[in-house]
Symmetry: C2
Subunit: 771 residues, 2 copies
């Protein structure tokens, strides 16, 4: 394989496309840095079934797993989303941001992951065996694994361009095996560049701790190492094992031999820096022989405490660049390359930051920095020739090579010296948790979806309900699999609702008829299709408080409200306006009161919300402008559809509205005085949302339930106007039914309890048991 | 009540609004004018439950009943629609267009209406009693009853304006009773103006026939009468009965007395020219006392053979005008007014066309023409003062009064003399039947609905499924009642389909994924959201037959087809075009072949249709323009959404298309040569629809069924491209699924069998038993 073939065969976009998947482990810890001994959170469901969030060795060790995505940025974002979920769902615990363990107890107190059933028993027995052979503390080491493959399409194209005379399977295996060999030879680079385990807590294995510098606070730091995890104090096979990588047949033959000789209890116990993965999981060797290599798993990477996901995107891009380089890189024929690479691994792990470090290359000593420079130069050539656009990564990595101070390991070592191992990581973990909390309304990696869909996907992932992205542009997803598979659009458009029910709610005339037929109070009114008919009614309604509106209203266009009634002439003028928007016009009694949104799902009022126009409350010294600026700092306030609340904008309309109150944006208002900045209560113009679920009397909730039932709706937003909700005899009326009710405003209101709408939807769809 | 109050209180629109309902009876006859002895057609369902189409006295006597509508024109149109249904659903029989019977058998052979069950037995016994008392032949006389009431709103307003001191019920009853008394006094006018029974067939009661002129052909014509039906030879009580109409209490007292004295077998046997109707049907007297008068039933009107419905719209408008006049008309205090009115009735019925006819008015003889003129003059004043716009009716009626030759009776008498009684009516009946057949695709009275909805409503009415017009502008109707009530929009949007299934079909990307997941062949293809991604695929697809289209297509905008493949550059240009219409673009393999629409309902292919571009076939002598003109005469070809096929228009595009074939609109083409006038096969541009249901092999039908099932659709239009449908191994692919499939094109294709789509829909909705 040479660079010319790649260059000739692929465009930049094709080269940047692959299948990327990430698995990140991490310990759950208490607020003082100790291993959490609580069970894996129930919300994450069955560990064996949740493909996104499960446990690894220990019950206290969360593992998040992204699906495979076509691009580096998407994969990285989804990993961040999964880490946010963990941060937000582990109560008052924290997600340990470091590969090496926190303050851990003795082996006997380390909880191994608990499983149910026969298969569960076997899993637990296997884990107990690992503790016996390797000790429990090493099992708590966490890593981040990067799965990579080319797309089928890419390999086919390359096969045709490079070696059409070979079988496709042989070509694919040969291609991946070359990458594996090169990766093993060059893995020292990744250990150096991404090593992030230069320190330990006292509670780790004493044999490992004793070689390090005691920096106080029960903390121990390596003098010039970068990755204790990749050193002999990390998690490795008892003796180095070197299966042959020249063919699949040799590889599987060697692994079978290791197992037969008792060096491994099973093929999966072979801990290598890069793993061959096959279609089959339980029968990996047979599957490799039959189906060939499906993807490669890179296992070198330490968790990066300086990134919320444990892996910086620039590093993931570099790994991709590195893998493309592995495909092209010329191989030497030096026979003992595996032993040499293993020796280099240990040297870099333990002394990577040493200025004079040398490595072995084809049996000869070479300065680490020279070899690293050589590799970066070759990668630069790859980047240039293939036009990958990976310059930023090269510049960053060159800095790390040039001066070890620029490595993560150096930065972390300094931090541990300053604060102590536990405190340094705890501060970081708390920062990430706060950050995840502040943006809990969204799901990273899925920002292209509307918030309501993000919330639903987040809930599904949290609970391990498989999510299929059927058409992201349309907020169209699939949930579950097999017989339980169902589809959802915009969070509440589902198979539970029948089509005509939706169409009935979409049409105000129909809605009113259905409600009235079921005896539910709607504003009394009339509909008409000509101004002549309207004239008749204008006379009838003259003097009465009345609302005149086109049949289908959008954003309130064409609506006139006569709170105190109007003359027949006034009403007729309003009717003419309304006819500008629709062929049918409604004239209804105006009902005084506040509008409340009742979210009804499956016959239950799940949430009630009040919307209040944009406003600020004074402190006696700040101007309105300053108060707005302060209020806009709320993490829920954003722009467009990216946040549950919108930033308040002081525009001409606001100024006009203030002027009517004798105010300007520069006015200072009294403490506790609330000033409204506009007349409308839309969230989209900076309005506040206030949860009222727990204070709304049951009688009004029953009205909402009956209204939804009248339209035969499972998901329904009922808009109720109530004059005084604290009075059960208050006058009220239903304004409209919404078949695609907004859920994010209930999930993340400005004030009041957050309602878990994703859970409600999953329950209605049968993924969560009924209450 | 005086005209001033009406004028002051109401607008013209209010005065023209009321509740109008019509009931029209008519005999079913054979092609030679004999009474049909077949059972009431099964399709009309249970006689006791079908509120639109039932029987009257005889099994052979159809009765159609309109619901009450707010305006005269609407009511009249619906009556026409009902008559069309009867004409089209009685096989090779005809709907007798005359009140007096056709060629009828002796009493013993006249089939009385058959009913099931206990209540049915009673109904049949009652009918047998009628035969005994009145003879069977009179029972076959048919009439047209006109039900009239003011709206509740109208009466309330009038009550407040005129007599607020009275109770509402008393006011209402007094108002209607005045109208009844005036109507009884003036009914001779209606008998004269609308009388249409001046002739008889020999088979009618000999006593009646013998007084008439024998005009041959077993036909007998009255010399100067207008309405045998309203004469003593019509259907009347054995002796004249005159209940008091000054109060409800007196009226019910008198009727109860008639029953007690054996003059009536039941209150309903009181045959008066105008009936008081109450809310209660079975307890009419009690209900009158309790609830008051609900509406009035005018029973004077003969069936008008000169109108397809048996009543001209101008006559119905006049009746409304007449009723308003009855409300205002001053009453005399002449005591024997009922006897006098009865005498006048007989005089007009028997000698109405006589030049010298006099009537009795308050005990004095008055020339009929003078009194009629007086009434018309007063009505003209009402029309002028209230601005009703009923001038045309007044002019027409004045003509009838001025010269008896202008009456229906005269016109019909002439016709009977010319052709004979049976043939004259038979010709008319056949003409109406042909007319109904030619416009069988629509439902008169419901023309505001899309054709597909008209077809569904027509089927529902035919079978007696109650139809609620929920929102006509939206084609939104209710069907059935009680627990079976369900709603339908645009004929196939129903509660049977779930919402997400519809949304899946609406989205081409989602549809393809669902189909592919179920292993159904779709054109292989790719989707992409950026031109950069598109570039990759453009290279892959270069040279292959391919279709490039925006994700959501409307009317084919933005679609490019490369039947013979294109260069990557060509494809890229097409991709750029498609991105002008949507953010997602699809590129798919082009499948060669003809497109067929499969209509799948509830897992069954109910119809298959091929669409062919607008075309004409030559006769060797006509020009293309002439052939188009001839083809456009087909009754199904209309303009807009009013007909199942559209008229072919020769426009610039057609001329261009012809030019490419070396033709112009003036070219004469060979016999049997077909020339296509445009490239697209849309029905909307004059294309032909050809039913293929019976010739399409089952294998392709199974594909369509599987496709609909993949989307979980109950109503689904599956568009299948098939290279050669006669070859079961032909290549094929699904183009798209339609959740609101057009049904009218299957119901009324240009060629091939008409498919009863209304029936299919009603079956899917549970109103017809499954096959």
């Amino acid at each position: 394989m040479n660079i010319e073939i790649l260059k000739k065969t692929f465009t930049k976009a094709e080269l940047l496309t692959g299948e990327f998947g990430l698995e990140r482990e991490g310990l759950r810890i208490t607020a003082d840095g100790k291993l959490a001994l609580t069970p894996h959170p129930e919300i994450f469901g069955d560990k064996l079934k949740n493909v996104y969030i499960t446990t690894d060795f220990s019950e206290s060790q969360v593992e998040v797993v992204t699906p495979a995505y076509a691009s580096v940025p998407r994969t990285h974002k989804v990993l961040e989303g999964l880490c946010d979920i963990v941060n937000n769902e582990i109560g008052d615990e924290y997600f340990w941001p470091q590969s090496m363990p926190c303050d851990i107890p003795d082996d006997k107190d380390i909880p191994i992951a608990r499983y149910e059933g026969e298969a569960g028993k076997a899993s637990m027995a296997y884990r107990r065996g690992l503790v016996e052979r390797y000790g429990g503390k090493k099992q708590l080491i966490s890593g981040i694994h990067c799965n990579f493959s080319f797309t089928e399409r890419f390999i086919k194209k390359l096969h045709q361009a490079a070696r059409p005379e070979m079988s496709f399977k042989d070509f694919k295996d040969q291609m991946y095996l070359k990458m594996v060999r090169n990766y093993l030879r060059c893995r020292f680079m990744i250990i150096y560049l991404m090593g992030c385990t230069p320190a330990l807590h006292k509670s780790y294995i004493p044999n490992c701790v004793q070689w390090l510098e005691d920096v106080g606070n029960d903390s121990y730091v390596s003098v010039d190492g970068v990755s204790i995890r990749n050193s002999s104090c990390g998690y490795k096979n008892k003796e180095p094992l070197f299966p042959r990588y020249d063919s699949i047949a040799h590889f599987t033959e060697d692994v079978r031999r290791f197992v037969a000789e008792g060096k491994l209890s099973a093929p999966k116990e072979l801990y290598t820096q890069i793993r061959l993965k096959a279609k089959g999981v339980d029968n990996i060797l047979e599957s490799l022989e039959e189906d060939g290599i499906k993807y490669l798993e890179l296992r070198t990477i330490d968790i990066n405490p300086f990134d919320k996901c444990g892996l910086a995107e620039i590093d993931l891009s570099f790994l991709h660049h590195f893998m493309l380089y592995m495909l092209i890189r010329k191989e030497s024929d030096y026979p003992d390359w595996q032993q040499e690479a293993m020796e280099n691994e240990e040297r870099v792990a333990v002394h990577g930051r040493g200025r004079e470090l040398t490595l072995l290359k084809d049996g000869k000593e070479i300065r680490f920095r020279d070899w690293a420079g050589e590799i970066l130069a070759e990668m630069e050539e790859v980047n240039r020739q293939l036009n990958l656009g990976y310059e930023a990564g090269l510049i960053e990595m060159a800095k790390r090579v040039d001066d070890p101070k620029n490595t993560y390991a150096s930065r972390l070592a300094a931090l541990v010296k300053e604060k102590g191992y536990i405190q340094a990581h705890l501060d970081i973990a708390k920062g990430y948790k706060a950050e995840s909390h502040d943006t809990r309304y969204l799901l990273r990696g899925f920002e292209g979806y509307e918030l309501s869909t993000q919330i639903l996907i987040k809930e599904a992932i949290t609970r391990g309900v498989p999510v299929e992205e059927v058409d992201p542009m349309d907020n169209f997803i699939g949930l579950g699999k097999g017989d339980k598979k169902t589809y959802v659009k915009q969070a509440t458009k589902t198979a539970r609702d029948n089509y005509i029910s939706v169409l009935a709610m979409e049409n105000k005339v129909v809605t009113k008829k259905l409600l009235a037929q079921k005896g539910i109070p709607v504003p009394a009114g009339v509909e008409f299709t000509t101004p002549e008919q309207g004239q008749i009614f204008a006379e009838d309604y003259a003097g009465r408080p009345v609302v005149i509106k086109p049949k289908s209203t959008n954003f309130g266009l064409g609506i006139s409200i006569f709170e105190k009634g109007g003359s027949a002439q006034d009403l007729m003028a309003a009717i003419d306006i309304a006819f500008g928007y629709d062929n049918t016009v409604l004239m209804e009694d105006y009902i005084k009161g506040q509008e409340y949104r009742f979210l009804v799902i499956d016959g239950v009022v799940e949430a009630v919300l009040k919307r209040v126009p944009a406003n600020v409350t004074g402190d006696g010294k700040s101007t309105i402008s300053e108060l707005v600026e302060e209020k806009n700092k709320h993490p829920f306030r954003g722009v467009g559809y990216t946040a549950p609340l919108k930033k308040i904008v002081i525009d001409g309309q606001t100024e006009l509205y203030l002027k009517q109150q004798g105010l300007t944006p520069e006015s200072v208002i009294q403490a506790d005085q609330t000033v409204y900045l506009r007349g409308n209560s839309n969230i989209s113009t900076g309005g506040d949302s206030i949860d009222m679920t727990d204070v709304m009397p049951d009688c009004f909730k029953q009205v909402a339930v009956k209204a939804a039932a009248a339209a035969d709706a499972v998901f329904c937003g009922v808009d109720l106007l109530i004059e005084d909700y604290t009075d059960e005899n208050s006058s009220y009326g239903i304004i409209e039914l919404n078949f695609n009710p907004s859920t994010d405003m209930h999930a993340y209101p400005y004030k009041g309890k957050e309602r878990r709408t994703g859970e409600m939807i999953l329950r209605a769809l049968g993924f969560i048991e009924e209450r």
